[in-house]
Amino acid sequence: MTKHHPERRQAYDEPLWWALFSAGGVCFALFVPSAVLFLALLLPAGLLPADALSHQRASSLLFGLPGLIFVGATICLPLFHAAHRIRHGLFDLTLGSDGTNKWLMYGAAALFSTLALGVVLLGMLR
C-alpha cells in the first residue's frame, strides 16, 4: 500500500539541523542572558571594574580554550538556533521558498561561526 512520492524528498539532513537547533536553544537559555547582561549592558554602563575587560585582559580571556568554548556557546550554536527559527518563521509567513531559505540561513550561520572560531584561533596563534 506504500505510495511513492518522487516529488516529496525525505529530509535526511534534518536531524543535523535539529541537533544544532536544540543545542543552540540550550545555550540561548543558559549562557546568553549572562553574556548580554555583562558584555552588552554592564560593560557599556561602566559598572564593571575598570580593567575587567581591558584589551589585554579581554585578549587573554578570549584567545584560548575558554574563549573557544565561549564563542561556541554564545555565537556559533545560538546562530544555528536562530537560523532554524528564522527559516521556519519565513515558511510560516510564506516568504521565499524553503529550499533557498534553508541554504541561506544555515549557510550564513556556518559562515559566521567559522569567522568567529577563526578569529579566536588567529588570536591564539599570535
Binding site: 546568553v32 536562530a82 578569529v119
Partner: protein, 130 residues
C-alpha cells in the same frame, strides 16, 4: 504524474494574528531577532579585539551608543523569555524518573534556572574583578 488537488486553500500570510496563542507562538519565534543583533555585536567585538587596542576602544564606544544598548536590553528580555518557555518544555519532552517516582516538573524547571544562576556566578567571578 498525477497531482492531487489541494485539500486546503493556502493560508493567508496574517493567519497568526487571528488567535492569541498563534501571536504568542510568533512572538516566541521572534525572540531570535534581538539575539541575532547581540551575536553580531559580539562577533564585531571579537574581530575588534584581534585588530588591537584602538579597534577594541572604538567597539566599546559603539556598545555605549543608546540604540545599541536599547536593542541589547531587548535581547536580554528575549533570552529570559526564551529560557522561561524553553525550561517548561524539558519536563514535557523528557520526563525523568528517580526509581519509581517521577521527578516533579517544577523541580526540573527550578534546576534549569539554577543552571542560569551558576553561569551568572561564573560571569561575576570572571568579570567582577580586574
Amino acid at each position: 504524474m498525477h497531482k492531487p488537488p489541494r485539500a486546503h486553500p493556502p493560508l493567508p500570510r496574517n493567519w497568526w494574528l487571528k488567535h492569541r496563542f498563534f501571536i504568542a507562538y510568533m512572538a516566541r519565534e521572534a525572540t531570535v531577532l534581538p539575539l541575532v543583533f547581540f551575536i553580531a555585536c559580539l562577533l564585531a567585538g571579537t574581530v575588534a579585539l584581534l585588530r588591537g587596542p584602538d579597534a577594541w576602544q572604538s567597539w566599546l564606544g559603539f556598545m555605549r551608543s543608546p540604540p545599541v544598548v536599547a536593542l541589547n536590553a531587548l535581547a536580554l528580555a528575549a533570552s529570559l523569555y526564551h529560557a522561561w518557555t524553553f525550561f517548561q518544555l524539558f519536563p514535557r519532552v523528557m520526563p525523568l524518573r528517580l526509581g519509581k517516582r517521577a521527578v516533579p516538573a517544577s523541580l526540573m524547571v527550578a534546576g534549569q534556572w539554577a543552571g542560569v544562576l551558576a553561569v551568572l556566578l561564573l560571569f561575576v567571578w570572571l568579570f567582577g574583578r580586574a
